[in-house]
């Protein structure tokens, strides 16, 4: 009897558990974990409506000639800022001021952004851009995210190795990629070694007038200067540059510039050269103060480095510079302290073209060679003494410790990263939160848009011991380098200041007028919600009549001093369009070379009655 009862109880329990397991147990534990994992990644990048991203990412736009502004961590693209390329969406390159700034060029090749720095940290005031395509440097005012100055650089052959700034933005430096004869001279390629020169442009920027100046240029052997960085703190007086083509190849560089086992990192003391230039020790070449650092003891040294290095980056504390191998699959850590010691002791192994070559063994601290990691290109940093290297060929990011060289973690990227950008990762105080891998190849990771696939960017969380790949997003061609700056450092304006003394500005309806000076017609007009007023005295204040062949100037002031009220101004069939921001005065200049009647209209949606914001340009035939 008792046995039977026990058996019943045991059977009951077994049956109960069995049914409970069938009903409630989750056999998809593994699957659910994966789903939970994805959700947590999504949560990391989700910025709810009403909140803002923590960081701006300022990304170069390569041969688009533009700056791409992203929010991090959401990876939402916020803005395209035209720098070297006309942009009808903002009227850049159409208005008189911006057209003059572009100087007739229609494109640029923007590789490396550099945010202005104070004491080695981003101050968020300006961003500088290089144009490898047409030898220029540009400044973007980060209070308005508009380009405020562009300067052409003589004697250069594509300033690829710039821009980088010295630690207090004393200089914005741009070393050339291709050697050319100086002063636009002609010289046969057979004369390469004698007649062709490598040049570094040292430019300054006045924050008040917002203008560049070419302080001086440094003439160097015709190696190719690839990338560069400025020292920090103890190394603040120095710049470091990688070179390739120490072979002086003039054709088929892929093979011929990759022969030597060692190329060089060139170290230049810009403080020393600054003093020499101030003392008048330079030659005028094509309008530039050209100085040869080999004429001045202590101004230039070379350090041998494994063949064809690419990036060279100074550590946040300024004590080391790290070369990434490109063709040699390793990172080489050099010590500034040992470098200065070797210079002091004149520990030179050689002299190349008048440049003392320091002993590699004396200045090299360590070689970091993660097994199977190929094609290291660039180094970024976090706040815990770690370095992060992009590996172009093996498509990964390698995290390693600078002091020990220990490889801590490796994570794939999709695919073939060039640069990466860590949050404030090239300053004296990196944040160590995010890293964006700027990839050259995306293969089939996104919906296909035909043979030209988008480039891509991976967002990687670097706050933990292990890196965590969060997401990949497509991007227009072609980010080379980016800087990630905390939003607190960027202070934008919403409305241009009402300056009644500003040239060509009009602030009152009654002052809107048309003035003829010979065959020039100057329209001093107003744009406001939702009308144009070109001539207050006219029965039709929004119509302008000119004669065929007149040179016409529309000086337009947007008097809506109100956030986000931009007015556009397009002239039908005249291929003209520009914009005026709230409180801004801008000028459109053109020759009315086509007779007829041409509608004018506001191109940037401004109000419910935007469609009515229009007028006419009447061009009387000759």
């Amino acid at each position: 009897m008792t046995t039977k009862r026990i058996i019943s109880a045991v059977l009951g329990i077994i049956a109960g558990l069995l049914v409970a397991v069938v009903f409630f147990a989750d056999f998809n534990k593994a699957g659910e974990n994966a789903a939970g994992d994805i959700k947590s990644k999504a949560e990391k990048v989700y910025v709810p409506y009403g909140e803002l991203d923590e960081y701006y990412m300022m990304s170069s736009g390569g041969h688009s000639g533009q700056l791409f502004v992203y929010g991090i961590p959401s990876m939402r693209k916020i803005r395209t800022v035209p720098i070297f390329t006309p942009d009808p969406a903002t009227g850049y390159g159409y208005s008189k001021e911006t057209k003059e700034m572009l100087g007739g060029f229609t494109w640029g090749d923007f590789h490396h952004p550099a945010i202005s720095e104070t004491a080695g940290d981003y101050d968020g005031e300006f961003l500088f851009a290089n144009d490898v395509g047409n030898n220029r440097v540009a400044a973007v005012d980060l209070s308005t995210f508009t380009t405020v100055d562009i300067m052409s650089l003589p004697n250069m052959g594509g300033p690829h190795a710039g821009v980088f700034v010295t630690e207090n933005t004393e200089y914005i430096a741009l070393p050339t990629r291709f050697a050319r004869p100086l002063d636009n001279k002609y010289a046969d390629l057979d004369k390469y070694e004698e007649e062709y020169k490598g040049v570094v442009s040292m430019t300054t920027f006045d924050k008040e007038t917002k203008k560049f100046d070419l302080a001086y240029q440094i003439v160097l052997p015709p190696w190719s200067y690839d990338l560069s960085d400025a020292g920090k703190k103890m190394s603040g007086d120095w710049i470091v540059m990688t070179t390739y083509n120490s072979e002086f190849a003039t054709t088929n560089l892929e093979i011929n510039a990759s022969q030597n086992d060692r190329d060089y990192i060139v170290l230049v003391n810009w403080k020393k050269l600054e003093e020499e230039v101030a003392a008048g020790n330079y030659h005028d070449v094509n309008g530039a103060k050209m100085i040869d650092p080999r004429d001045h003891k202590g101004a230039i040294y070379a350090v041998p480095v494994a063949k064809s290095p690419h990036g060279v980056d100074v550590t946040p504390d300024g004590t080391r510079y790290i070369a990434a191998g490109k063709l040699a699959p390793m990172m080489t850590v050099f010590s500034f302290e040992q470098t200065f010691e070797a210079i002091e002791k004149e520990d030179f192994t050689d002299e190349k073209y008048g440049i003392p070559v320091l002993s590699y063994e004396s200045v090299m601290e360590r070689e970091v060679d993660p097994p199977g990691a190929l094609g290291p290109l660039h180094t970024q940093f976090d706040d815990k003494g770690n370095a992060y290297n992009t590996m172009f060929i093996s498509s990964e990011i390698v995290k390693w410790h600078i002091e020990t060289g220990e490889v801590i973690d490796r994570t794939p990227s999709y695919y073939s990263p060039g640069h990466s950008a860590a949050a404030e990762g090239d300053t004296v105080s990196p944040d160590g939160k995010w890293l964006v891998s700027l990839n050259k190849i995306s293969k089939d990771n996104f919906l296909s848009v035909g043979p030209s696939h988008p480039e891509s960017m991976d967002l990687i969380d670097i706050s933990g011991e292990k890196m965590e790949h969060i997401m990949a997003v497509p991007v227009d061609p072609e980010p080379h380098y980016a800087q990630i700056v905390h939003r607190d450092k960027i202070n934008t304006i919403t409305v241009y200041e009402k300056d009644e003394n500003r040239e060509n500005s009009v602030w009152k309806q009654e002052d809107a007028r048309v003035e003829r000076k010979g065959d020039e017609v100057h329209v001093y007009g107003i744009a406001m919600r939702s009308r144009f007023i070109f001539d207050a005295q006219s029965d039709r204040p929004d119509a302008v009549t000119v004669k065929e062949g007149d040179r016409v100037f529309f000086h337009l002031t947007n008097i809506d001093l109100d956030q986000d009220i931009t007015h556009g101004f397009g002239i039908n069939e005249y291929d003209l369009n520009f914009e005026v921001q709230p409180g801004q005065t801008s000028t459109l200049e053109f020759v009315a070379d086509k007779a007829g009647v041409y509608p004018i209209y506001c191109t940037n949606f401004c109000s419910a009655l935007h469609q009515e914001m229009s007028g006419y340009l009447l061009v009387e035939p000759k």
Binding site: K4, R5, S8, A9, V10, L11, G12, I13, I14, A15, G16, L17, V19, A20, V21, F23, F24, A25, D26, P48, G50, K498, W507, K508, Q509, E510, D511, M528, R529, S530, I559, D560, L561, D562, Q563, D564, I565, S607, A608, L609, E612
Partner: protein
């Protein structure tokens, strides 16, 4: 026999219930976390919505009763409002240049299409208009 059946049933129910609690514990925790999250979010929303009212003192109530703030802010007086129309902080000083008439005249007979519609729909009383002009004069001097 009957007793055995009862014992079986009792053991079954106990084991079944035990199994339910055992397997669902994790899920319940997650659900609680989600609920907490939702509460936080809605709390933030409420605070945001109530902000403009907190800021407007009795002195500025006139902007509310005439619905000015549904389209305009007056930031120099600390009044948050809609974003459709311009911030009125400098309107007293700027209106004559911009619209060709002074503020008092504009509020009687606006020279822009949108405000014409607004004022036609609900004209301001003479007292209210005078008070608004006075306050916006003060705002432009802030």
């Amino acid at each position: 026999m009957k007793t055995n059946g009862m014992i079986f049933l009792l053991a079954f129910v106990l084991a079944f219930a035990g199994g339910y609690f055992f397997f669902n514990k994790g899920k319940t925790d997650n659900m609680q976390a989600v609920t907490v999250q939702e509460n936080t979010t809605s709390k933030v929303d409420e605070e945001e919505e109530s902000e403009p009212e907190e800021l407007s003192s009795a002195e500025f109530e006139i902007f509310n009763t005439n619905s000015c703030l549904s389209c305009h802010a007056v930031s120099s007086l600390g009044l948050e409002g809609g974003t459709t129309g311009p911030d009125l902080s400098k309107s007293y000083a700027d209106i004559e240049g911009k619209h060709g008439v002074d503020l008092d005249s504009f509020l009687q007979e606006p020279t822009s299409a949108v405000m014409t519609g607004v004022i036609e729909g609900s004209p301001l009383s003479d007292e209210d208009r005078a008070e608004i002009v006075e306050l916006l004069k003060k705002a432009s001097e802030e």
